[in-house]
């Protein structure tokens, strides 16, 4: 028999999306002086809201508010008091979890299963974790009395809008900094809902400021003389530009950039879990993940078997309505990203690799791309070198562990990597040689506030998460 799951849509009723949203500056919502823009639901291209755009003068006000809050309130506040605000925020995130998850899925296109089970719980966990650090900084290994940096300018991407906000704001506030944060222009809504959470938590005005806008707003923020630190998550190209802008200044910088992770499957791997890890590695969040396992390196002796299992597994992926609780792969975040995925995918075929997708019906409206695997990929192909940031997997083979490591490291990136083998010593041998900041062995795409995350080489510098994540927000 055919067991069809009936549609199981999560209710949108819990979220009240307003017609328009302002900037969040000094504890108040305010109009922007730039040209407002629209946030679109990528699953059906409907307009969700008009969003204010911050120009230089708005960024100026936001930075001034953050400076004032830093000097007058947040900086001098004892760590134990700061901690309690962060705990409050964590609790509010938990209390409003469903609302945040639904809004995230609507604005971003990610499946509700992920926003509900991954993104939002991690957001709460991040605030809980760093709340605890706020009054324990002297024990963090950065000297007896580490000081905050000051005002942090933070620019975050659209792939995990709320989670990236938490990664940025939680440690910054715990260390005593104030922030001006710019969410991505295609996914500003949960950040603005977070602003409301700050108000419910009675966070002092100016500690968190949110300025919405596109690249221009981000440029104005990172170049602003009034900030002391820039934290950016996004593309390597923009990361490079920011590093140049900050050259010769005293501003502190942390960057979390692109990746092209190798996911290495040895012949003795637990194959069913490896296949699951491959799927989770590349199709989680539609592949919009900087640490996605986008290059599968599989040992030749099991390549055929792995591919068979992988294809069978991919055929069970459910692509469609992000709000359906049974959806595994949601919508591509934007028309621009869809165009980029299509362009690279076409390049893959033009260069001689073979594409395969399971039969799946894509919705007529919205931005969609079927889960795709490329076989016959060579190291030199663009799809093996460039970050696609979509549900597209490139498969390469190797013969020996040395070859696997060499191929894995043969990239300017170095964010993450995966290893699948049942042999313990081989895991450690491989992990030691991989030039990547996060190595998942017999698992993939796991995140935790206690676990440092960040890249080698052109994947950026600095770590987010754990004790290490404090360093970027302390004057050390």
């Amino acid at each position: 028999m055919v067991f069809e799951y009936a549609p199981a849509p999560e209710s949108r009723a819990i979220v009240d999306i307003r017609g328009s949203y302002g900037l969040f500056i000094d504890g108040e919502f305010a109009d922007g002086h730039g040209e407002p823009f629209k946030s679109v639901n990528p699953a059906d291209e409907s307009v969700l809201a008009d969003i204010a755009c911050a120009d230089e003068s708005d960024v100026d006000r936001a930075v001034a508010a953050a400076r004032k809050a830093y000097e007058k309130v947040w900086g001098p506040m004892p760590g134990r008091e700061r901690a309690k605000y962060l705990y409050r925020i964590a609790r509010l995130v938990q209390e409003r979890a469903r609302e945040l998850a639904v809004l995230e899925s609507i604005d971003n296109g990610k499946p509700i299963r992920e926003s509900r089970d991954v993104d939002v719980p991690l957001v709460a966990a991040w605030f809980f974790y760093y709340a605890g650090w706020a009054d324990k900084l002297p024990y963090a290994g950065f000297g007896p009395d580490p000081k905050p940096v000051g005002v942090a300018g933070q620019v975050i991407p659209w792939n995990f809008p709320l989670l990236m906000l938490a990664w940025k704001i939680a440690p910054a506030l715990a260390c005593g900094n104030t922030v001006v944060l710019k969410p991505a222009e295609t996914t500003p809504l949960t950040a603005l809902l977070f602003a409301d959470i700050c108000r419910q938590a009675e966070l002092p005005p100016g500690v968190v400021n949110i300025v919405t806008g596109a690249g221009e707003t981000g440029r104005a923020l990172v170049a602003h003389d009034g900030i002391d630190k820039v934290a950016f998550t996004g593309s390597t190209e923009v990361g490079r530009q920011i590093a140049r802008v900050l050259a010769g200044t005293d501003k502190k910088l942390t960057l979390e950039l692109g990746g092209k992770a190798a996911n290495i499957v040895y012949e003795d791997a637990a194959l069913d879990q490896a296949v699951e890890g491959i799927v989770n590695g590349i199709f989680f969040n539609q592949g919009h993940v900087c640490c996605a396992g986008s290059r599968l390196l599989v040992q030749e002796s099991v390549a055929e078997e792995v591919m068979e299992r992988l294809k069978a597994r991919m055929a069970t992926l459910r692509v469609g309505d992000p709000l359906d609780k049974n959806t595994d792969v949601g919508a591509i975040n934007s028309a621009a990203q869809l165009a980029k995925i299509r362009e690279l995918s076409a390049a893959g075929e033009a260069e001689g690799a073979t594409a395969w997708s399971p039969p799946c019906e894509l919705p007529a409206q919205g931005f969609w791309f079927a889960p795709t695997v490329f076989t016959g990929v060579a190291q030199s192909h663009r799809i093996a070198r460039e970050e696609i940031f979509g549900p597209v997997l490139s498969v390469l083979t190797f013969r020996t562990p040395d070859e696997a490591v060499t191929k894995a490291n043969n990239t300017p990136y170095g964010l993450s990597a995966g290893i699948w083998t049942e042999k313990g010593s081989q895991i450690l041998w491989t992990a030691q040689r991989l030039r990547a900041g996060v190595v998942w062995a017999n698992t993939f795409n796991k995140f935790d506030p206690a676990s440092p995350f960040g890249g080698y080489k052109e994947s950026g510098f600095g770590r987010e998460g754990g004790r290490h994540g404090l360093e970027g927000y302390l004057n050390v």
Binding site: A270, N326, E422
Partner: protein
């Protein structure tokens, strides 16, 4: 594959199977457990689950009266609603087979019998075979045997293999379900090895548990067994069924198993011929949920017969 059947070959084969990462398998099972099956899909799933139930009584206190009552329930789970499907089988001890067979005459409900010194399996092979033959002679269409877990854990795979082949032979036409008692095998690697061992020895079904050992059926264990039957069919073209048994009490549990079947072994296994749920109290919960869907009102246990 047959050439590997010597003791050393069998061991090498079983040890050569890909490993199972416990955390990964549990994660996969837990994720599938979040599938939301509602409305029409739920109604279909409930009827399918009812038709897959092996309604079971395996107590020292079983009497002919108890077994007759169970059989009546199996043939007509909800006397008030003729549209409710019958269950797949009743499962009893071998000495109750003839009672069950007589009670179910004229219905499609099969009679399954546990055998082979159930549940421990600690008896000489001869005794196990006598047990099996008696159940078959009494009319059992299905035999649920237990493997010798002691021999398996001691690494004596060929002893386990030979017992299964001997019991299979004693079964004649009857279908053989091989109970692995996964709660005693403990690791998922062992579950996968025991699954392959049983299938290669001729099992028609592989079954998780006797219900007498905790944990009984779990989603991760069933996941691994479903992967095994899937892979076995791919390798041999022979399809083997799966039966989780014990601890499956609610409709939600049952639907989770069906989702697991659907997305692991595939739709080919979604029939009573290839998938069973060994349970007793589950049936009434399925009936209650079924009525809730039909009437929109939550029902209560007083509206369904105990057996």
């Amino acid at each position: 594959m047959e050439t590997l059947n010597g003791a050393g070959g069998l061991r090498a084969f079983l040890r050569g199977l890909p490993g199972v990462d416990q955390v990964g398998a549990e994660e996969r099972a837990a994720r599938l457990a979040t599938r939301s099956v509602k409305t029409t899909a739920k109604a279909e799933a409930i009827d399918l689950a009812i038709s897959m139930v092996d309604l079971t009584t395996l107590e020292g206190a079983d009497t002919a009266g108890k077994v007759r009552a169970l059989c009546a329930k199996a043939a007509h789970p909800d006397p008030a609603d003729a549209a409710v499907p019958r269950v797949a089988a009743v499962c009893v001890y071998s000495d109750m087979v003839d009672v069950a067979v007589r009670s179910l005459a004229g219905t499609d409900v099969k009679v399954a019998s546990v055998a082979t010194a159930f549940p421990s399996g600690r008896a000489p092979l001869e005794a196990k075979l006598v047990d099996t033959r008696a159940a078959v002679a009494a009319g059992a269409a299905e035999i649920d045997m237990v493997i010798d877990r002691g021999a398996f854990l001691a690494g004596d795979y060929s002893k386990v293999f030979e017992e299964i082949t001997a019991v299979k032979e004693a079964c004649g036409e009857a279908h053989l379900k091989v109970i692995l008692e996964t709660g005693e095998l403990v690791t998922l690697d062992n579950v996968r090895r025991a699954s392959w061992l049983a299938m290669r020895a001729g099992a028609d079904f592989i079954k998780t548990s006797t219900g007498k050992v905790s944990p009984a059926a779990t989603l991760p264990v069933t996941l691994v067994m479903l992967e095994a039957v899937r892979d076995y069919r791919a390798a041999t073209d022979r399809q083997v069924g799966v039966k989780p048994a014990g601890g499956i009490r609610t409709t939600k549990d049952a639907i989770r198993y069906l989702v697991l079947v659907n997305e692991t072994a595939g739709p080919d296994w979604l029939s009573p011929e290839w998938f069973r749920l060994g349970a007793s109290s589950l049936l009434n919960d399925l009936l209650m949920q079924r009525r809730k869907l039909a009437t929109g009102v939550y029902s209560g246990p007083d509206y369904f017969t105990l057996d």
